[in-house]
Symmetry: C2
């Protein structure tokens, strides 16, 4: 096995702590890249380790791989990720993280207010009528429509 051209996928797996299958997966998704040796085996620049580290931090912050890929698209394929690059990325993600934290805190506060109240009124309870629903997936609540009963004893 010729060792020209960088790290093998096994070495990257070992050093980064992620599975070989995950490395293949990240590559398919365009998050990292490799070259091939004469035997068609992947060879990675050592900078891939920093990229994987960054991916993992972003994932812990709750950012989907798709968005991580978009954010990292501007990074050089081979050259070391610079401090400036990392600053840019981390500031972007920190802002998103702040949002997530703030949203959870608002929910937490409402929950606290509702403990002991127990109203869960369809039209009045703030816990049920959030102005910050996580993601606009699906039709969403329609509690404020004209037929929403105000006094339903459900």
């Amino acid at each position: 096995m010729d060792r020209v051209g960088g790290l093998t996928v096994g070495e990257v797996a070992q050093r980064s702590g992620i599975a070989v299958s995950a490395i293949h997966f990240y590559e398919r998704k365009g998050l990292i890249s490799s070259s091939r040796n004469s035997a068609n085996h992947r060879r990675y620049s050592p900078t891939v380790l920093r990229k994987i580290a960054i991916i993992q931090v972003a994932q812990r912050a709750g950012i989907p791989l798709r968005e991580i890929a978009d954010s990292m698209a501007f990074l050089p394929a081979e050259a070391k990720v610079s401090v400036e690059d990392w600053e840019q990325l981390s500031q972007d993600w920190a802002a998103g993280l702040d949002d997530r934290i703030a949203r959870l805190q608002r929910l937490r506060k409402l929950m606290d207010g509702c403990i002991g109240c127990g109203c869960l009124s369809l039209s009045k309870c703030k816990l049920l009528n959030p102005d910050d629903v996580i993601g606009a997936n699906g039709p969403g609540p329609r509690f404020l429509e004209e037929d929403a009963p105000d006094s339903l004893d459900f």
Copy 2:
């Protein structure tokens, strides 16, 4: 269509704001229950609306349906969810929410500390060596193994 016995699935969908398919799904997962009329159509007790509301709050707090189902298993099938029941549930979930918030805040703080530092050192950077990895899914980081290079310029 006989209207005996409670709300139809369409009415529940309309009032709760979730799709009929989601209601069927929740029922298959044991989160809610219904009876059937002579035409084999579902009929829901009005209390299902409060249950769905509670499910949605828990989902916003990041709790998976499986756990929500477990927590709600003790609730009466037909009777109104009591204030005490809601207190119990919301206190359980609030604790989990606190955990999530705390974890994200620790990450946020580390991120702040690392912005401008840019080290991302495999063995030293706290951002990469968390003691609070989200979920123990997969093999996890092995950065502290004996072969982890301390001075890798990646």
